[in-house]
């Protein structure tokens, strides 16, 4: 493992970096986690995509470090972290997802968080904690579904569609989607709302 990790830190060209990250991710070893997260900040989209896939495969074991090592100064890196957390879907990420969905300045980060908020593995939380978490996710998605940026509203609809699997919040989501269908000024967003309708079986 040490050697695989060192190969990443020593890579001198984008191609070398990509190969080193591929080898490291293929080891599927928890010791690789910090290095894979660091790759998000190297401005190498190919390598970052491999690192994301590797971390998703490692799953829940990567979540604490993903949460701790979010890069507050590099929104590109932050978007990769949020996408990874969203895909692993561990509900321990909820507070981070809520914060960035509502307040991050980078739309790419907010969109990734919005999608993730609908999709967490809620059953891993005990009652009533799960209830509170679901309601917070709902409130955040309802809030950002009024954003001025169409792509944020689009992502909010994707999040709401996923969240509508939960019976307790279905009615609130249905009401919001109807409102968006009637009022949203972007055809693309209204089309996504309609798709959400169909997918939810409303």
């Amino acid at each position: 493992m040490d050697e695989l990790i060192r190969a990443v830190t020593l890579a001198e060209t984008p191609a070398q970096m990509l190969t080193a990250v591929q080898n490291l991710a293929a080891a599927k070893d928890a010791a690789a986690i910090p290095t894979l997260i660091a790759v998000f900040g190297y401005n190498n989209p190919g390598a970052a995509a491999v690192a994301v896939a590797g971390l998703i495969e490692l799953g829940e074991i990567a979540v604490p470090q993903l949460l701790e090592q979010i890069d507050d100064y590099n929104y590109g890196a932050r978007a990769y972290s949020i996408r990874t957390l969203a895909a692993i879907a561990d509900p321990r990420a909820i507070d981070v997802l809520i914060t960035v969905a509502a307040t991050d300045f980078a739309p790419s980060v907010r969109r990734a968080a919005a999608k993730g908020l609908g999709n967490l593995n809620w059953h891993k939380l005990d009652f009533p904690k799960s209830q509170t978490a679901i309601n917070s996710a709902l409130d955040t998605l309802l809030l950002i579904s009024q954003d001025t940026d169409w792509s944020i509203r689009y992502a909010a609809v994707v999040g709401l569609q996923a969240l509508a699997k939960i019976v307790d919040v279905r009615q609130s989501i249905l009401t919001k989607l109807q409102e968006m269908l009637a009022n949203d000024n972007e055809k693309a967003v209204r089309a996504r709302v309609q798709l959400a309708y169909t997918n939810c079986g409303f």
Partner: protein
């Protein structure tokens, strides 16, 4: 576009305006207030008739002039008039196509495109005079003799099929971005997929800056066959999402209610979802 767009102003950093103050500021002795007001009225789509009239008047401004002979206020007025959607501005914008300031001409072309003004076609075609051989860099300036990209795009968007034979040679212009604009216009005017495919090829071959331009072009023409190439291109997700949004909107009828969404549109949305 070569000159940084006025859109990059941060709204928060500017003076807090109201429509009344902005209209009054267009006559302010402080030229910077006039310049800002002209931008602000467009940005916030303040489309009342007196705004349109005041901005049309600003297209003839002589007070605000740069050392190089540019007309900053005219540029902003021309840009805003495109956003306000009032075709009353068309004749005055057509007149701007003869302005000595390249950026005024460019802004006017873009606004005439936004206003979909068919009466502008002859004047737009005139900017292509001399063809590719005259479409060269102006010595010492960061732009070509005319705003060719904007002109080609406008002719395509307005549907100027009479310009096809004049546009086609620009596919071979040495500047790749001009080639893109020509391909985009040719596709719009002929619906021939070879022009769409040409853009897809440029998406794969170009550097990051060109890829962003091509993504914009593919979105603007709604070239559905490019959907996967867009999703997989090496560019930021925000640019890909905007391009796919263009494709999606071309798939949707003008007024769609709950008749359901077509399969092609669903395919595009699935790609968009994957880029969130």
């Amino acid at each position: 576009m070569i000159e940084p767009s006025a859109e990059e102003y941060s709204v928060e950093n500017g003076t807090q305006l109201t429509p009344e103050i902005a209209i009054a500021n267009l006559q302010s002795p402080d030229l910077s207030l006039r310049y800002y007001a002209a931008w602000w009225l467009g940005k916030f789509r303040i489309s009342q008739p007196e705004v349109v009239d005041a901005l049309i008047a600003a297209l003839e401004d002589e007070a605000d002039k740069t050392e190089l002979g540019g007309y900053p206020l005219r540029r902003n007025a021309a840009r805003s008039l495109g956003k306000l959607g009032n075709t009353k501005a068309v004749p005055a914008l057509i007149k701007c196509l003869e302005c000595s300031d390249f950026y005024v001409r460019e802004a006017a072309v873009q606004s005439l495109e936004m206003l979909r003004a068919p009466t502008a076609i002859p004047a737009l075609i005139k900017l292509l005079d001399g063809g590719v051989s005259q479409a060269v860099q102006v010595p010492g300036r960061p732009h070509l003799a005319q705003p060719y990209e904007a002109v080609l795009e406008a002719l395509g968007a307005i549907g100027a099929t009479e310009a096809i034979s004049l546009i086609q040679p620009f596919l071979k212009h040495p500047v790749p971005r001009v080639q893109c604009s020509a391909a985009r216009a040719m596709y719009q005017l002929t619906q021939d997929t070879s022009y769409g495919d040409l853009l897809v090829k440029m998406l794969e071959a170009g550097d990051l800056k060109l890829r962003r331009v091509v993504l914009g072009d593919l979105g603007a023409i709604g070239y559905l066959a490019a959907a996967n190439a867009i999703a997989q291109s090496k560019a930021e997700n925000s640019f890909k999402l905007i391009a796919l949004k263009g494709l999606l909107e071309h798939q949707l009828p003008d007024k769609f209610d709950d008749v359901g969404v077509a399969d092609e549109a669903i395919r595009v949305m699935k790609l968009m979802d994957s880029l969130l």
